[in-house]
Structure formats: structure tokens, C-alpha cells
Symmetry: C2
Subunit: 250 residues, 2 copies
């Protein structure tokens, strides 16, 4: 399969590495920033260009992994006709590609991909395509790099994205709050990690509704009181919201 | 080492299994509920009693793993003198044991241990003892079942416990909210799990302050708006708190 990647940011790089690890070759990488292209593509022997007019027009799929707001504009500049073009964004409609092509699609890795990501993480892939043959192609491509592939339309992808923000971004912020709290009190944040790993591992087999523990669900007012007295105003609001919300749900 | 476990609940059972796996033998298990004792102890060939007067008085350490409010009362009923007695609670002072003995201690597994826990999870151990020899004994015992052992006094253990509630209990509640949201919208919660695993794995090497991603930190008002419109009133409060708090911290 001939794959052209447009973009050179975190998502473009992680997908490219995942494709290479799965045995695909990348036909070409295209992006504005030539320095990044040189650094990333040369060690991996990937052809690259920063010129739209030099984009390989013979590929099977064009994967646009650029910032949300730039997707539409980039798609219209591609010097191709009647080719499958997909973007990789969680909360951007597939429709933005349809000013360029009817063969639109989405190839969205449901994963938190920041600059710090060096190794390719395990990916869940959410895919969609306007045409059935294209969907089959994306399905094969997604399965080659992921064990969890789901078909999701715009609305479903947005729902997944919201669920990802709540579970991943917000719990990461809870970790950050606890991290700073541990640093301030000179206790070891690392001591919490086995517990956090175990918690996530349990999600494979058990609903998180069944594994809730802690003072809120036990309605342990003495401990809740103690904890509240150890927090600042902003943190207290958060502690209170969670305590009430846990008690309401259980 | 001769170990007597008092209690037959989740923590008592998990610690007992961990000791057995580490090659210790359990001298005796003591609890009120004879049925639970029979079911748990007989397959493991652990001597047991539900009678305080039958407690083995020759052990090296007595581990009280009962509910927080019962610890002091249980300790005073033990028919022993001048022996090391520890409890296993996160937010109970070691001092509650000192009406019984000067050889008090704490042996606290920093882990979410609910009825659903069948296998022994990786444990972080927080330990303390009033006397130095006892601390050494607990240190050896803890290291035999855990790779992460820290010494923590009452205040520090309470701080760890608060950090555990924030990271583990509260993020579990976020998972529960997302789980119900996925069920309601018929999308697959399981698709989120690789991302959540990756997030926790990153904690081993990176501060969560460096790995924050998502619409809040990107100040992506359009996505935040979309997400808010997809949530109920109570969830909106939570979404708003996190968004503002993330933006404030970064």
C-alpha cells in the first residue's frame, strides 16, 4: 500500500513509526518545516518534500496529520484527484475534506500523543470513510497497527473524544495535583504508581462502577473532614464535587 | 518469622496471600466470622480461631487488618504482652495501638483493595514502628512482598492516603462517568483503555505536569464548547472546574 503522510508533528511521526513497524513503507512525507522533515525522514529513509507541487500523486491514501484548523486548507492544496484523503483529528468533521474529495475518511488514533512520546504506544484506532472500499482499506491499515479498531462516524468520534478528555486529560490533571502535593510535602509520588496501574488493569475485566473505593463511597465523614482540612480552597471544591458525585452515583 | 493476622476482610486476605507467595507461613488467622475463616484458611492450611483466648501468643508480629473504628478495641483484647502489634489503615493514627503496647507499628498497603481483588496486586508498602528493631522487622517483611517500601509517620501516611484518594478514587469516578456515558451512547469504553494504560506507564518516567494534553491546555475554545453541550449540568460543573484548573496550572 502506498501511503503519503502530510504533517510532521507528533501524530504524523507516531503514525509513521507505527506503519514502519507494521512493515509498510511510507511513500512520502510532506510538511512545511524542512528541518523537521530532514531530521525525522533521513534516518528512516523516507522520501520527503515541503512543496505541494512535489507530492507523489500515485499513493493509495493521503493521511493529513496537521492541526485541526489547517486540515481543510491542506486538503485543497493537494495536487491529487479522486484519491482517498483522511484526517487524524478527534473533534473535526470528516466533512471538511469534502470540499476537496468525495473519497473522504478519518483515521484517528485514540491516544494522548505529546512531544514526550518517543516509542509508539498501543493505539486504539477510530476510522471512517465515505465510500465502502475506502473503509475496507482503512480497516486493513488500522488493524495492521492496532488491536482495537472501531468504526465511528463524526458524532461517535466526538463522543469518544469527550470520553477520552474526561478519563485521560482530567485524570492526568488529578495526577498533576497529587504530584505537586507530594513534592510540597516531600513524600514519594512514585509510591502511588502500582495502585494506579492496578486500577487501569482492572478496567479490562471490570466496570469502574464496581471498583470504586475510598472514603466517599464508604461515607467516612471523619476521613473526608481530615482530607478537606489538608487542601486549599480550589482543591476543596474539587474534593467536594467528587465526594458528592460518588455518593450520588452509589 | 511468625505472623498472626487478625481480620478476614479484603486487606487481611490480600496480605496473607502476599506473605504466602513470598514464602512466609502464617502462624494463625483470627477473626470473628468463622465461615469466612473456614473458607479462606482451610484450602491454604492456615490455622485459625475466632476466639481471642486462643490466639497464638508466640508470634513475632500481630497484624490487625480490621475496619478503622475497630482497631483499638481489637488490640486491647489480644492476650499478648510486649509483642509488636501493627495496623493496616491509611488514615488511623499509630497511637490507637498505644493503649495496648509500646511496640506499635503500621503496615499499610497503598493499594485499592476491594472485594473484586482476587490476585495479589503489586503493592506499595508504607511502614512505621515506634521502636527501631520493630521498624527493621517490618522493613524486611514489607520488602519481601513489595518493591516499593517507604517509611511514613502518621502525618505522612495521611498525606499519602489523600494523594491516593485524589489520584485513584477520583480518577476511578471519572472512568465511571465515562463508562456510563459510553454505554448510553453505545460506544465502546474499552477503546479508551490503551490510552489510559499508556498514561499511567508514563508516570514512571515523566511528571504528569509535562504530559498534560487536551483541549483545556490547548485553550481550544471550540472543542470545549462542543463538549460542554454534550454533558449534563453536574458533569458540566466538573468539566468547567478541570478546564479552568488545567489552564491555571499551565
Amino acid at each position: 500500500m502506498k501511503i503519503v503522510i502530510i504533517g510532521s508533528g507528533n501524530v504524523a511521526q507516531v503514525l509513521t513509526k507505527a506503519f514502519l513497524q507494521a512493515g509498510h513503507s511510507i511513500t512520502q512525507m510532506m510538511a512545511r518545516n524542512l528541518d523537521v522533515l530532514v531530521n525525522f525522514c533521513e534516518p528512516l529513509a523516507i522520501p520527503y518534500t515541503n512543496d505541494f507541487s512535489q507530492v507523489d500523486t500515485s499513493a493509495d491514501v493521503y493521511i493529513i496529520a496537521v492541526s485541526d484548523g489547517a486540515i481543510e486548507n491542506v486538503s485543497t492544496q493537494l495536487p491529487i484527484q479522486d484519491k482517498l484523503i483522511v484526517h487524524t483529528a478527534g473533534s473535526v468533521s470528516e466533512k471538511v475534506l469534502q470540499s476537496k474529495t468525495n473519497r473522504s475518511g478519518v483515521f484517528y488514533p485514540l491516544q494522548s500523543i505529546s512531544k514526550q512520546v518517543v516509542e509508539v504506544p498501543e493505539l486504539s484506532m477510530l476510522i471512517h470513510a465515505a465510500e465502502e472500499n475506502d473503509l475496507q482499506l482503512l480497516l486493513d491499515l488500522a488493524k495492521s497497527i492496532s488491536e482495537k479498531v472501531s468504526i465511528a462516524n463524526d458524532e461517535q468520534r466526538l463522543q469518544y473524544h469527550l470520553a477520552a478528555v474526561i478519563t485521560n486529560n482530567f485524570s492526568n490533571h488529578l495526577y498533576a495535583i497529587a504530584y505537586e502535593y507530594c513534592e510540597k510535602n516531600k513524600i514519594d509520588f512514585g509510591a502511588l504508581i502500582p495502585m494506579l496501574k492496578e486500577q487501569v488493569n482492572r478496567l479490562e475485566n471490570q466496570s469502574p462502577l464496581l471498583t470504586q473505593t475510598g472514603p466517599a463511597i464508604r461515607r467516612d465523614a471523619a476521613t473526608i473532614q481530615k482530607h478537606m482540612s489538608m487542601l486549599n480552597d480550589e482543591e476543596q471544591k474539587m474534593y467536594e464535587w467528587f465526594t458528592l458525585s460518588i455518593q450520588k452515583k452509589h
